[in-house]
């Protein structure tokens, strides 16, 4: 029996910025992006559900930090196979950078107390930093396996996993408890289960604020964040002078002729 915690984040969907999210000035209006379950956190959830299947009686607890609306990812997790969820929400937690976020999550995990494995996505698509997993591990004094593609074996004592490394893959063995971050190339998460939807539609989640997790006020939110944003500049997508061609032989041959004659290719 394993006690599994899955960290999940609700993020603006930055993958497909459509015209509806663009302002007339050619910049992205972030508020217009839909809020989604961070994709790699779903890969992490799938690994958790597989572990639960291999170890009957295991429990999966989802943990998220965000606005009250972030409870949507907890519910989605329950629909797919998690057992319960904890929402960390408090004004005092706002403006947190990755370090303050990790401290807060680690405090909540300490309050949960009993855990064998903490799973999360490698990174979130709104920041792409990949920092929170390793920082949570450091705060809890645990080792980690990042960029995990598949958990090959897991007992109460040790885990064996295959992970992506630059230019290849490696298989590592590590003792539990541990933090495991899961890559987008890992197995996709199974879809919702109808029975689970019916059973969990109205479930209320445990909600904790800063005081509930015994957080040091100097380490949370804006105050606990070493990084400051000095300036933010929106990218303007300006049109160049573009020649539009058809796929006719003439158009294509003229283009290739131009490129070859100018020694651009060839």
């Amino acid at each position: 029996m394993l006690k599994i915690i899955v960290l999940a984040k609700q993020v603006p969907d930055t993958r497909n910025v459509g015209p509806e999210a663009m302002t007339p000035e050619g910049t992205v209006n972030r508020a217009a992006l839909p809020a989604v379950f961070n994709p790699e956190d779903l890969n992490a959830l799938e690994q958790a559900i597989r572990l639960k299947e291999q170890h009957p009686g295991s429990t999966i607890t989802m943990l998220t930090m965000g606005l009250p609306k972030a409870a949507e990812v907890l519910r989605e997790g329950l629909y797919r196979g998690a057992d319960n969820g904890i929402l960390l929400t408090d004004r005092a937690l706002g403006g947190a950078d990755t370090l303050a976020t990790s401290y807060t999550l680690a405090q909540a995990i300490k309050k949960v107390g009993d855990y064998d494995i903490i799973l999360c996505g490698r990174q979130a698509i709104d920041g792409d930093t990949a920092q929170v997993g390793p920082q949570v591990a450091e705060k809890l004094g645990l080792t980690q396996i990042t960029y995990t593609e598949e958990i090959l074996e897991c007992t109460k004592e040790k885990i064996v996993a295959r992970r992506h490394i630059d230019g290849g893959v490696e298989t590592v063995e590590a003792p539990l408890p541990i933090v495991v971050t899961v890559n987008g190339s890992a197995a996709p998460c199974r879809s919702r289960n109808v029975k689970r939807i019916m059973a969990n539609k109205k479930v209320e989640f445990t909600t904790w604020g800063a005081a509930d997790i015994d957080a040091d006020p100097t380490q949370i939110g804006k105050a606990g964040s070493p990084t400051n944003v000095k300036a933010v500049k929106s990218i303007v997508f300006k049109a160049k002078e573009t020649k539009t061609l058809t796929s006719s032989d003439e158009d294509i041959n003229n283009l290739m002729k131009e490129l070859i004659e100018s020694n651009t290719i060839g």
Binding site: D126, P134, T146, D166, T171, I235, S247, M256, T264
Partner: protein, 346 residues
Amino acid sequence: MNSVFVYIEIGEQNKIADVSLELCTKGRKLANELGVKLECVCVGSGLNGIEKELYPYGVDRVHVFDDARLFPYTSLPHQDAVVNLFKEEKPQICLLGATVIGRDLGPRVSSALHSGLTADCTQLEIDDFDMKVKEGDDFVDKHYEKQLMQIRPAFGGSIIATIVNPEHRPQMATVRDGVMKREILDENYKGEVVKHEVGKYVPETDYIVKVLDRHVEAAKHNLKGASIIVAGGYGVGSKEGFDLLFKLAKEIHAEVGASRAAVDAGWIDHDRQIGQTGVTVRPKVYIACGISGAIQHIAGMKESGIIISINNDPNAPINQIADYNINGNLEDVLPKLIKYYKQNNK
């Protein structure tokens, strides 16, 4: 004291990662502006003489941690070597590659030292910074001289943010491979090497992760250095669809790249991904095949010389930054390009 530090990533056969040398060049420039030394940390096995490869980039001191158990990389021993060294040396800046290792190690080091870390910076500069700081119940203006401006795209590349961490040291940043330029400063540059006793920094209890098996292949491609790139996106439609791109690439001596959408669909290897979270490229010619042009993709290729977009959607965002926009289907256009090139290339 308060030097600029670079964590040197050491791969198979003790080859230093390109990105680490690129960061030495950047680090040297930052150190000059600050009037401090540039120092490196090498953690690995059998590192005798490694300092000689670093001095030419203007490195003043090379810290070496040499133990058979320090290669291949595992998180805890490398973390403690770096963290405990930094507690002694108190660097003001620490740069790491935004590689798998750098992104595994950097966050742990920043967490242990409670310092800020900015991921995937595309520019690093020294500048002054003013900030309102809370003192008691009041806010007062505070002026910080010569801070590290960490500039990075955020929100999928739709904004560029400048991050500063004035109150905490070191100021840490990761940078992706190929973003900075690598330049030998002086073949005869003289630095010094400091060989540390590993046991003093890394406790035995750190060696708890065992690497059972490892497969590392030399890069199958040279996207970074390619002068022509043929890149495919979701519009390629399938793994087989990429065959046509490879065929064209072979013909015109190009490399094949891809957008995140095509990589996520499993049609092509992850290491060929171009964009903010992949490789940044600056080829002479960039042929975008069925790529819609999400901003994070554009972030990684917009500095290409000539951009040719082949797309059957005339409204694809990439067409806005393309020099040529061929409105058509790939299976129609690509064979024509191949055919013409075959017939007319001298």
